[in-house]
């Protein structure tokens, strides 16, 4: 079992279905204005298995909801609208994900981005899995810094 960095395959389909609004969409001839969705980042233990096949949020393998960590993680700051450069569209949360005074229930190495407003069977739709080196923390501050929001490093990119 392992976690693997990937854009969730279901997310791609859901983009075609209009299930996700990463930014606010202006009114056009077909649709009325769409308020952007809110997204969370949830932390997963190294023993979990989340990857491109992950379709929705699941508590299985997530850090235990103790202390300053709550189920489904923390809210992403989304003040940056999706943009394009050349032929690539991209989107990145506008601030780091931060947990203070966090004690992890085990080693963790992945964050699952989920859509709080778009669900399937009551579970939040998965966007992406972003992995990093195994970490453990005791009563410390965990900061997940976002990549630069551009066409080559943005958190979510479509080329």
């Amino acid at each position: 079992m392992a976690n693997t960095t990937a854009m969730c395959t279901s997310f791609k389909k859901e983009l075609l279905n209009g299930s996700h609004a990463l930014g606010t969409q202006a009114t056009n001839s077909v649709r009325t204005v769409t308020t952007k969705d809110t997204f969370n980042g949830a932390l997963y233990l190294v023993t979990a298995t989340i990857n491109s096949t992950t379709e929705v949020y699941s508590a299985t393998g997530e850090l235990a909801a103790t202390g300053n960590y709550t189920a489904k993680g923390a809210l992403l700051t989304n003040a940056t609208v999706p943009s394009t450069t050349g032929t690539t569209a991209f989107w990145t949360p506008s601030a780091s994900l931060v947990w203070t005074n966090l004690t992890s229930s085990g080693a963790f190495d992945a964050v699952l981005i989920i859509n709080n407003k778009s669900t399937s069977g009551g579970a939040e739709l998965a966007v992406s899995v972003n992995t990093f080196g195994s970490q453990s923390i005791t009563a410390g501050t965990l900061t997940l810094t976002m990549p630069t929001n551009d066409a080559t490093t943005g958190l979510i990119r479509l080329a």
Binding site: T5, K12, V111, N130, T138, A139, G140, L144, P147, A159
Partner: protein, 265 residues
Amino acid sequence: MAIAFIQSKQNTASTTSVAITFTSNNTAGNLLVVGVEANSTSSVITVSDTLGNTYSSAIGPTQINGGGNQWIQIFYVPNCLGGANTVTASNSSATYMNIVGAEYSVVKTASPLDGAGASAAGNNATPASGTFTVTVDDLIVGFALLSNMVAGSGFTSRGTDTYSMLEDKITSSTSANATFTADSGNWAAQGVAFLPIVDVTVSLTGVLATASVGTIGIAIALALSGVSGTVSAGNITASGGVTQGRADLYLGHKTVVTDNLVTLG
């Protein structure tokens, strides 16, 4: 961030208890360390405070060399409560007590002790806890009993009645020894280590999906009249035996043009 000393206070009393009141309010989440000396036939020392913190023994009690009626012990509270605070140490048989309390920030709020520390007793002018294993950036706290105490090299005194002293330092080594200098005589010394809070910063890497657009297929099938068999073009097949030709223009899988076009005699 490194562990930081916030404040300390010291007091003595010739009775069974002694108290200090921190000059400034304690900050919730900090570490409180209390060193206590008791001149007593009893080794049992207890510590409490007005905030309601629960004190644990970090090490000791340790008896002065030679079996005299003098004891030292270090207590601690991780993740302390915040507010004005008076700390009291008691020993039911004490005739003299010294207390030194210190507050530190950026110390682990759960299980902050790094190992068991060390303690020793001896007779000379250089009290020392003895060597114990620690972690780089640990807070090393020493407490010792002798007369005219001076903090050891690299250590800072946080309070003394000249007979017992609490000292500390942040270590850059994986080995520690709480050392002092003093008048020559019987002594007892202790050393313990506390772990700092270690923050974690991780840089996320984005994910890329490559989008592609499908190719629209165009196929024209032409069947000739009077010809038996099958004529194919692209993925379109017209079966034979027909008397009339037909051409179909397909875009993908959808027929967009169907018409009779050719008739051959």
